[in-house]
Assembly symmetry: C2
């Protein structure tokens, strides 16, 4: 028994629902549930292992209209809905006939996560992290971030009545700073780039024992929140798995967790365990996983990001190797697209389906197009694209590309002239 097991031993009986242990993804070593993220044996990443019981479609459908309907599949306390949290999830799954036609995909759906409380999928992972962190004894919610995560952490902490500490590079856009600061937590601007901020967060996580850095020391719990995207897609399709799903890749965690969710649903008999293919989407300016996929290697070489898709700009993605495992195992692929293609795809999505996505959504749509053209995505299979964030947060991506059709004086004749011109 390693010393980590002893030090992590809970002083009370933890209620983290069906979660049973933390298990190393590399060596399989297991430790009791605790605020740990690295295997004491091999330093591999830890993830949550479960004993599921009594999970049925009927109980899920009778549950809250949020991710908490899946509480019996998440590492959260049984009484999770009794504490204030942000209740994200159960966002729209939209049948997208016009976009499907434009991309050459016959049956296409969009999972529109812009409807979450702070308008990105980060509300899902933060809500799960907050619920687990409360049970693990933390009292402060923290993160390093450049945008969506900062918004989600500050909002969830405010709602819960917790203190938040959010670390950002001081050069961040004013809009993102303001939307984080309005929630009233502690917002620390750091004179450095995101890598500096991230390193600082890791140091602080080791020093401040009351602070749950959602994406550092409680990352195993946090990451499980992305499973809810997979559960919702399956439930909203009428309790079945799609044939194909295209997912943006930043750290890669989301892609692996949607795959985990599909696998769990099949094993639990909640859906037929039909085959599905998982595809990853990256911006060419930060495409280490797509590069490794194309080269047929298992090694993801870090890159220095240079893309407008800043929410995906992680040059050294922690879950990159697991993304490669998943897409290869399911006969998928990882594609990448240029910033110009991203801007085009944001507009295509808005014009065909009325959904205004951030740059990550543009990456996903543009990669889907490319994967159809290359023959890797099957145009006849039921296909779902994950739209994980909101265009209002990355307005600069479309500025200069869209604007009024015409400017006229107050005359109906001028309006008609503008319309026919």
């Amino acid at each position: 028994m390693s010393s980590a097991v002893t030090s992590a031993a809970p002083t009370k009986t933890l209620d983290l629902g069906p979660a049973r242990a933390l298990s190393c993804r590399e060596c399989g070593h297991q430790i009791p549930l605790a605020a740990e993220f690295a295997c004491p044996e091999c330093f591999g990443p830890l993830e949550v292992a479960y004993d599921f019981a009594g999970v049925t479609r009927e109980r899920i459908e009778a549950g809250p209209k949020s991710i908490w309907r899946y509480a019996s599949l998440l590492p959260v306390p049984t009484n999770v809905t009794e504490h204030p949290n942000t209740e994200p999830g159960l966002t729209r799954l939209v049948r997208a006939e016009k976009l499907g036609k434009a991309l050459g995909i016959k049956r296409l759906w969009l999972k529109d996560d812009t409807g979450n409380p702070t308008h990105s999928f980060k509300d899902r992972v933060v809500a799960v992290a907050l619920a687990a962190a409360r049970e693990l004894g933390f009292t402060v919610l923290a993160c390093p971030s450049t945008g969506n995560l900062a918004n989600a952490v500050a909002a969830a902490a405010a709602r819960a009545g917790w203190r938040s500490v959010v670390l950002i590079p001081k050069s961040l856009e004013q809009a993102k700073i303001q939307m984080t600061a309005v929630y009233g937590g502690t917002l620390i601007a750091v004179d450095g780039n995101y890598d500096d901020v991230n390193r600082l967060a890791t140091e602080l996580a080791a020093e401040e024992e009351d602070w749950a850095f959602v994406n550092v020391n409680v990352r195993p719990y946090y990451a499980e929140g992305s499973k809810t995207l997979g559960y919702e897609v399956a439930e909203q399709l009428g309790w079945r798995l799609p044939g194909q799903v295209v997912i943006p890749v930043a750290s890669g965690s989301q892609l692996t967790k949607v795959d985990k969710a599909f696998g769990e649903l099949g094993k639990l008999g909640l859906v037929e365990p039909t085959p599905y293919r998982v595809f990853g989407a990256q911006a060419t300016g930060c495409s280490p996983v797509a590069t490794a996929f194309a080269e047929g290697t298992d090694v993801v070489r870090p890159v220095r990001p240079d893309t407008i898709a800043r929410s995906l700009a992680i040059g050294n993605p922690a879950d990159g190797p697991y993304v490669l495992d998943t897409v290869r195992r399911t006969n998928g692929a990882v594609a990448d697209v240029s910033d110009a293609e991203v801007v085009d795809a944001i507009q295509l999505l808005a014009r065909t389906e009325g959904i205004f996505a951030e740059t990550a959504g543009g990456v996903t749509v543009a990669c889907a197009r490319k994967l159809v053209e290359s023959g890797q995505l099957d145009p006849d299979a039921d296909t779902v694209l994950l739209i994980t964030g909101d265009g209002l947060k990355t307005l600069d991506a479309v500025a200069g590309h869209v604007g009024p059709t015409a400017t006229v004086s107050t005359s109906t004749a001028e309006v008609r002239r503008a319309l026919s011109g």
Copy 2:
């Protein structure tokens, strides 16, 4: 029989669900369902009259997770879900204990309409307008707007595959212009103020027979979409009416329609018809209805708006007199608050409940506070505040008021110093 009845007679049998006729709010005269908005007898405003049948809680609960679960209570075709639309609604109703404590209200809930597709309640009214307009034979969706409505119309038309024509004052903020333009419809910037744009829209509505101006020639249908806010509040409270509701007042339509919804639910036996009180909220810089309420008159005198709450800045509110009727009948009131109070309230809401509202939400929260302090709002009654739009669209309201707590170098010691400072 007036000539309007003849000219409006449909050439086919219209399916607008339970809608039976258009009825004049002033004289009670009725005409067949058509694209009319003014009474042919007295020029009073027309609204939809219904014959409801077979509406039960069970059927509603088994319906779509959007406003279309209430299709049997709306003027939309029976097959409304078969055509692409934006599926707004069923947004969160959040129990707000911390904000309640701050305001002195024991049991408080927030209806958070920032979760709608374009992040305001306008998606509700536009979705209903689009569905009715399709049945009425229109092919173009249009509006004059300064913001939220422009976003909602352009997005819904894109999703439906319709052309949109949106008229805006050319001085509108770039963010609002871009978020409308990205959906790809026709966006006409007019060299004039909103009153000029509105007059131009009314002229065009009379000339262009294929254009459904959602808030002009199909306004009776459009306005009914706000009823869904009332239905959802009641369903989400467990099929009961709140004791009090506070609603922002622009044209005043939303307030009267929530009242209409509560009345319908009671008459249909879907809830106990318990007494409720309706309160209106305005910004002092545009408070013609609050002024009339305070003066005890029925006459709403137009004003020239001067407030940061631009989405409420209608100086001559069409439904002002009906707002006065409703609040007086239900023993409510109309309050108004300064722009400084609005900015404070936006921050209070964000800091207590993690919800970032636009200025209209700040008006509602600040008015609730004022109404408690004046003794008009009962601190012991179940109270609901409608949060109808998103803070990301009015970032300028909080700019200069919020920002980083501290700026530090990359040292944990400096972070700790900043935290203790």
